[in-house]
Symmetry: none
């Protein structure tokens, strides 16, 4: 009945079934497996109920070669996956002392003690392999039976990802479930609509009917994922096609892989040994946060001022009060004064500023909600630019941040760097070394 390498996924998700969260586990695992040319045949989201878990598990286990479960391994009374699956397979639960020690160590760092509830996590069904959890408390579990593999992952996303990538994937490789190396390339672009990108690239894709092309656009970025339609397409062909896309995209091309835009900008600045500062009004810290999300940002990111009212703009950024009175705080003139002020304050080589109406309140006839003025400062001079974004408050903020980052990126492309952009071969090498 089972077709070769059929994968099913069971997600324990009272929270999902109540609508309290979106299903991030599915999108993460699907794209990870997808990069090996594998796809998930069926995904269940079920309630944290022992009998429900047992029923769904038994059926899915019959059909699948790889069965993955997520969630339900933690300490609360809703965490029943371990127990329900042990019962379905007729396995006893055994206690693991190493897990107890590791949980105790972890808890002691946060000043908590080991309660009886937490101890649940030290048990595992007989014959299963424990996959230690380096981030949280509940370990993952792995079980093999003939040509079938069961992988049980904890629910918290960071723990799930860490265990899946560092432990489950190597297991699947060793047992020949993943016969091909990761073979997918993501081409990231910024600043251009998906439909225009698609028009640009269609002639390339028409020449390669074996390549599966997926578009995904979000907040001013468009990602194009190239992968084999079925396992077997050479990675050389895929790389060559990705390189052709890059050439066709020109300055719209950001990078291969899903590197955040801020990280790309930080890399470009680091190569040039330059620094950047930010002065934020309407983006309110989101731009600084994008920079500081990048490990090692401090080398390049000099700092920022969040100047949410006129007093702060005057006091901290030396924006002349007359400018604020004459043009209003949401204006090209103020964006320019802010960006110059912050560059001087932090002695940075480059700077960015934002001032606008993120909504839902505010806005004028001339500058309706969604209007943002960005400022850009470089050793060559300072400029400002007016852009209008659609969407709610967080969307306008995120769009403005990406537009600001893309502005520096494009300007830096015009300036010489020490090393230049990495080629697809250098990128692929770096991926392997990761």
């Amino acid at each position: 009945m089972a077709s070769p390498r059929r994968i099913e996924l069971i997600i324990l998700g009272n929270e999902l079934l109540l609508g309290a969260r979106t299903n991030e586990h599915l999108s993460y695992l699907a794209s990870e497996l997808g990069s090996y040319g594998l796809s998930i045949a069926r995904n269940f989201v079920i309630q944290d109920d022992a009998s429900e878990i047992g029923k769904v598990f038994k059926d899915a286990w019959k059909r699948s070669n790889i069965l993955i479960t997520t969630g339900g391994l933690g300490p609360t009374s809703n965490d029943n996956t371990r127990e329900a699956i042990a019962k379905a397979l007729g396995r006893k639960l055994k206690f693991d002392e190493d897990t107890r020690i590791s949980i105790e160590e972890r808890l002691s760092q946060t000043g908590m003690t080991l309660t009886e509830k937490v101890m649940k996590q030290c048990y595992y069904p007989e014959g299963f392999t424990l996959l230690p959890n380096r981030i949280g408390t509940a370990p993952g579990l792995l079980y093999r039976e003939g040509n079938k593999t069961l992988i049980m992952l904890p629910g918290p996303t960071a723990e799930l990802k860490s265990i899946f990538e560092k432990q489950a994937i190597p297991h699947l490789k060793k047992s020949n479930f993943l016969v091909h190396e990761k073979n997918s390339i993501l081409v990231r672009t910024a600043g251009v609509a998906e439909s225009i990108i698609e028009e640009h690239l269609t002639p390339i894709f028409e020449k390669h009917p074996n390549i599966k092309v997926g578009f995904c656009s979000k907040h001013n970025l468009v990602d194009i994922r190239l992968s084999p339609k079925r396992p077997g397409l050479s990675s050389k062909t895929l790389k060559k096609t990705a390189e052709t896309c890059k050439q066709a995209l020109g300055n719209h091309f950001v990078c291969f892989g899903a590197t955040p835009l801020a990280e790309v900008v930080i890399q470009m600045l680091a190569e040039r040994k330059k620094t950047i500062a930010v002065a934020e009004s309407c983006t309110g810290g989101l731009l600084a946060n994008a920079f500081t999300d990048v490990p090692g940002a401090s080398q390049v990111f000099a700092g920022g001022d969040i100047c949410y009212n006129n007093d702060a703009k005057i006091e901290l950024l030396d924006v002349p009060e007359s400018l604020l009175l004459q043009h209003g705080s949401v204006s090209a003139e103020v964006a320019l004064a802010m960006v110059t002020g912050v560059a001087e304050r932090f002695c940075s080589d480059y700077a960015l500023s934002s001032t606008g109406f993120a909504g839902p309140g505010g806005g004028t006839k001339e500058n309706p909600v969604g209007t943002v003025y960005l400022g850009f400062y470089s050793p060559l001079g300072a400029w400002s630019r007016k852009i209008h974004f659609m969407g709610d408050r967080p969307t306008v903020k995120q769009h403005a941040v990406n537009a600001a980052l893309d502005w520096v990126r494009r300007e830096l492309l015009e300036e010489p760097s020490l090393s230049g952009q990495p080629s697809i071969e250098e990128w692929a090498l770096a991926e392997i070394l990761k």
Copy 2:
């Protein structure tokens, strides 16, 4: 076999199974049904394949009272839901002239013509009711058999929502599936682990076996959703229980409903006519961003400094250089100097600061990665606190932000406000007026 009002959901989702999108249909439908006291027992995400659809549909139809499908009703060759379900139920497809006219009208507006592919959408299984689509082309479908109802919705989210709310919900009400009005309450807590909250509240829930309790914890917040186990529980009982939870939780209680922590803090400060400023090192703008995500934040949020290196801490926040040299930038002393400096700079009543090692690099034996010192400034004085968080860089940052916000919240609770916290009745009224 079927329990009363069992609901299952089948989502046709090649894109979801490839990881190209997240499953928004589930979260939308689950929270809509949840607000009527109903929950989805099981959700399937399956591939757009006629035999797969047939198999999953037959099983689910046996078990369910309400079965909902989304997707697969459109014009492409992957759209097989209508045909597969007609076959599974042994129904012939019939042509609907009204649908043809309405699709033709819609297409003519966009300058397109009716092709044979598009005509697929004019067919419906005999005995089914068409649910006209006012936004797109593919109509939804509804079918009743004994105590069972099948609802088939198109995939595009806006069309799905419109048909579900305006047509499916009234049908379900008329046929007595939704006998009660919307009825669920979310109780938000902060600063305490899910397992401790559960221990606190279990005695309350044991007295109310008719109330369904769902926990959802994320970044130092734990949400508890109370809803009726089955329709019929009075909203009065639900409110009374929520109020009892609030009392039992004491200062751990944040609010009824999913108001962001920063918004709760802003409301409390606004009631007291006070302002707040932030000095961020390791949270790098995320704390300022949490405040500025709240519409109208400017009346309370004075501004912030992102001081990512020592120079900025000395220049902008008047942190004494000797302190940095003696104690290091990640220390209680520096957190304190930062928070005092920023309160003075922005002339704010309150202030928060952060300095720590968010990882993955950095950290010392005494202050390993995940260590964060928070500073708190108020008219009564200034304090600092050391906390250790687990997780990757963005997780540590988010945890630190929520811990900082929760700190101000708890301190403000001890100070008199003008209006006090809203009662559950006031909250319920505000919800209705929304």
